[in-house]
Every structure is written in C-alpha cells, then in structure tokens.
C-alpha cells in the first residue's frame, strides 16, 4: 500500500499538502521502476510550474525521465540534498527523497489528482 495521506499523479509523483504549500516527490513504485537514480535536476526557487507540465529531470543509470508538476504554483524550495545524494530518491522516496515544495496557486487542481486507493489500483494494473 502507498501512504494513505498523499495525493498522486498518473505519472507517479506524490503530493503532501501542508497549508498553502505542497511537497512533491516520486513514488516508491516509480523509483523502483527507474532503478538506481544517479542524477536529479530541479527548478530553482521562484520558478513557476504548471500542473502536469515537465519541471525537472530524474536520471537512472540507464534512462532519463521527466518530472511532471502535480500542481500549478511557484517553487518555494528544491531539495538541494539530491544534488550530492540522488540515491535518497530510491532509499526514502516519501521522506528525504522529496524534490520540491510548491506554493500553491490553484487549490482546485487537487481534485485532478488520485487518492491512495486509486493510485494503488493504477500500479496494480501495471
């Protein structure tokens, strides 16, 4: 089971909403599918991101994958620890492997996201 208190996208990002900020990362399923993550490219604070548009890149040993913003807003902080320790995305995807905090501008967009049950069903279907 994936953490029950998070929102999810079909692109395998997770979102933890805390007031008007949302913390974003990729799910354990995504991290496992990608394999050993060796590079993460994130936007700088202040940059705006748009729901479901690419905002960064995650690279495993073999492949390059885009990261998609689950929500529209402005980047409040990016997880600088991932520059030196990208493996945190594999070892702790819902914790120290978080990627960005976004200051939300469109709270209504949360309705577009999946809850834990729906996301579980999505990954169970492969």
């Amino acid at each position: 089971m994936v953490p029950a208190d998070l929102h999810y996208t079909k692109d395998h990002e997770w979102v933890r909403v805390d007031g008007d900020e949302a913390t974003v990362g990729i799910t354990a399923y995504a991290a496992d599918q990608l394999g050993d993550i060796v590079f993460v490219e994130l936007p700088e604070a202040g940059r705006s991101v748009t729901q479901f548009a690419a905002f960064g890149v995650v690279e495993s040993v073999k492949a390059v994958s885009d990261l998609f913003a689950p929500l529209t807003g402005e980047v409040a902080t990016a997880n600088d620890a991932l520059a030196g320790s990208p493996e945190l995305v594999n070892s702790d995807p819902y914790g120290d492997g978080w990627m960005v905090r976004i200051r939300l501008s469109e709270r209504g967009e949360l309705d577009e996201l999946l809850d834990a049950t729906a996301y579980d069903a999505l990954i169970a279907a492969g």
Binding site: G35, D36, V38, F39, E41, S60, V61, K62
Partner: protein
C-alpha cells in the same frame, strides 16, 4: 525458417533461473534478457570488487572449419586469423566493401583447421550470412551453432578462485585472450580468458542443454566469494568504464575502424586481399575527419547517446554512450568529435536538454584494473 520464428522472442536456456532470481527482463536483439537483478550499481560493484555471472547465450557462435578456414577468415574479416597461435584469440571486425563496420567480433583459433567467431546477438544472423558468402570458394565450411551454444561469463577479481575448483583447464596457463577445451563441473566446455568488463575473467561455452547445470555449478561455487548474477545494465556500465565500444552505439555501418580508434586492429600488411581492403587503405592514407574519444563532464549532468557535442560554434560531433560512472563517481561518455578536437585535454561542450555543459576529452579507458 518457419514463419513464427521471425516474430518469436528467443529465450535463453537460463530463463527460469533469471526469473527465480528476480531479474527484470527486456527484449534485446530478439532475445528476452535480464537487464538487472539486485540493481545496476550493486551488480557493477560486485564485478569490480568480487565476481559476477553473466548469461550471454544470445551471442552468435560461428565455427569455421576446413583446411582453408584460416585464409577464408583472413579474406572475410580485417584481422589475420592464420597468424594467431592455436589456443589464442583476437579482437576483430567484419566490414563492408566500403570499410563500414558490420560487426565487431572475437576470433578464437581452436585447432589447426578450426576457428570460432563470436558475434554480437544483434548481428549474429548478418555475420553468419556474410561468412557463408565470403567463405565460398575456400575449402572451409561454416557451422552456425548460435542456438545450440550457451555462453556464460564469469568476470571479476575472484572469478579465477571460483572457476579453479570446477575445471580441469589449467587456468594459470590460460593467458588473457586464450582459449582451451576442457570441462567445467563435468560439462564439456570451451573456456576462454576473455570478457567485456575490464576485469579478469572467463567466458565458458557449452551446449545449450547443459547451460542450467553450468550456471548452477558456478553460482554454488561462487557462494562465499560474493558472486552475483549480472544483467545487461551493468554489462553496459562496466564496458563503458573499460572504454570498450558497443556495436550500435560506437560502431555501425557508417563508421570505419580508423574513426573508432581501432585502426591497429586492421591488418593492412596481411598478404592477400580481404573485403574492405581498398577502402581501408585509402582511409589509412588520408586520415579521418572524426574520431572516437573519451569524455568526462566537468559541469553538472549526464551525457547520453545522441546528445550533440560542440567545440566553439559549430557542432563537432555526437555522444555515442554515456552514464554516471559507478566506479569513478563522475559522468563519463564516449563520442565522435572532429579530428582537431580529439586531443586529450581539449575542452568541449555537451548539449544536454538545450544547455551546453563543459566537458573534457580524455584518453580511454576511464578505468583500468590494478594488475
């Protein structure tokens, strides 16, 4: 050939073992192959520090036999197999008449009138057809035993300790790029001291029907030595660190051996004509416009296959392979650059997602084992 065989994905005889070991399987050159088991980084480290076991049964094993087997091969490939001592091997290539590389090969001299040519899985059929064609007129026959032969490689510093108690081949007498006939775990085998990882190691050829027994014996013998099964993912990072080209990335029909830095492999001084001679003599005389180089990124990012390379304004070339080197902890790549930019120490830019990232041309290999 039946109609379905064109579409069916081949399974190696070790498919059940891979599934039981939790491998992730991918389609590769018409074969279902393990890309990773525990994870690419962990597998990579296992080979550098201990030993790894590879299923390479997808590769092509082409036996060439007959009184003129040696001279037939000397016509068919760019090296001079008759000059090989019996029991020795050489890296070689088969090229088109225009000098373009159709595959890179290992040629083993097994006995007076018997050679083994090992081809990449993706080119096994092409090479088999080419050899059959180029052998005509010589007293030599081709025996394509690709599907009848399984190949298991054991690579890494502890591979000799693991293999020694299982084989009657004298491993101390078996030098790098040598091959001997014997048995492993009681199974008739050809044992070669060759590989594609930059480590000491062996490649063991057996009949397909004996592959599972061979694999199980090596896995059991490797217990206590930290032997790990290794997929194609780590095979790629290992060969890249070792500066070894991969057909389809560094080598293809539009590339000649001199561009790939493999001019020394082409034996222009061998006595008789061979396919590609005229074209390659011209290249050797006139030089090349582009060269394969090693690249280390000096800025942030990872260079990948197909990324453009700039040196000043004009596009200088293209990245052919790139990854984050598990051993060195930096982004490494190979690629083609214009000849004036090929000197080690030259600063170039790799274009990564529209951004130019500084990088340096370096001598290959990136990694060389301590001997």
């Amino acid at each position: 050939m039946t109609e379905t065989s064109l579409q069916t994905l081949h399974e190696t005889p070790l498919q059940d073992r891979h599934v039981a070991l939790g491998a992730r399987l991918i389609d590769f050159a018409g074969w279902q192959m393990p890309v990773q088991y525990a994870g690419i980084l962990e597998e990579h480290r296992a080979v550098r520090e201990r030993a790894g076991l590879f299923d390479l049964s997808h590769m092509g094993e082409l036996f060439v036999e007959g009184p003129e087997a040696g001279s037939a091969l000397a016509y068919a490939v760019v090296t001079n197999p008759p000059s090989l001592a019996e029991g020795r091997a050489q890296y070689s290539m088969i090229v088109a008449p225009n000098g373009g590389i159709l595959d890179d090969l290992i040629v083993y001299h097994l006995a007076a009138d018997r050679f083994l040519v090992v081809a990449n899985a993706s080119n096994a059929q092409v090479v088999s057809d080419l050899l059959a064609e180029r052998l005509s007129g010589f007293k030599a026959v081709l025996d394509d035993r690709s599907l009848a032969t399984a190949l298991v490689a054991i690579q890494g510093p502890r591979s000799v300790e693991i293999l020694r108690p299982l084989t009657d081949v004298d491993l101390d007498a078996l030098r790098y790029y040598a091959i001997a006939e014997g048995s492993v775990a009681g199974i008739p085998a050809l044992v070669a001291r060759t590989g594609y990882t930059g480590e000491d190691g062996f490649e063991v050829f057996v009949d397909t029907g004996r592959a599972v027994a061979l694999w199980d014996a090596l896995m059991a013998g490797g217990e206590g030595h930290g032997l790990a099964p290794i997929g194609l993912g780590a095979r790629d990072t290992l060969r890249l660190e070792a500066g070894m080209p991969l057909y389809g990335n560094e080598l293809d029909p539009t590339t000649n051996p001199f561009e790939a830095g493999l001019g020394r492999v082409v034996k222009l001084d061998k006595p008789d004509d061979f396919v590609g001679r005229a074209a390659l003599e011209k290249v050797a005389r006139e030089g090349v416009d582009r060269k394969l180089v090693g690249i280390v990124l000096r800025g942030r990012g990872i260079a990948r296959h197909g990324y453009p390379i700039h040196a000043g304004e004009p596009v200088s070339g293209v990245v052919t392979s790139g990854t984050q080197s598990p051993t060195l902890g930096q982004a490494i790549a190979m690629g083609y650059v214009a000849t004036p930019d090929a000197e080690p120490g030259t600063m170039i830019d790799v274009e990564i997602r529209g951004q130019r990232v500084p990088a340096e041309v370096v001598a290959l290999p990136f990694y060389r084992r301590a001997r």
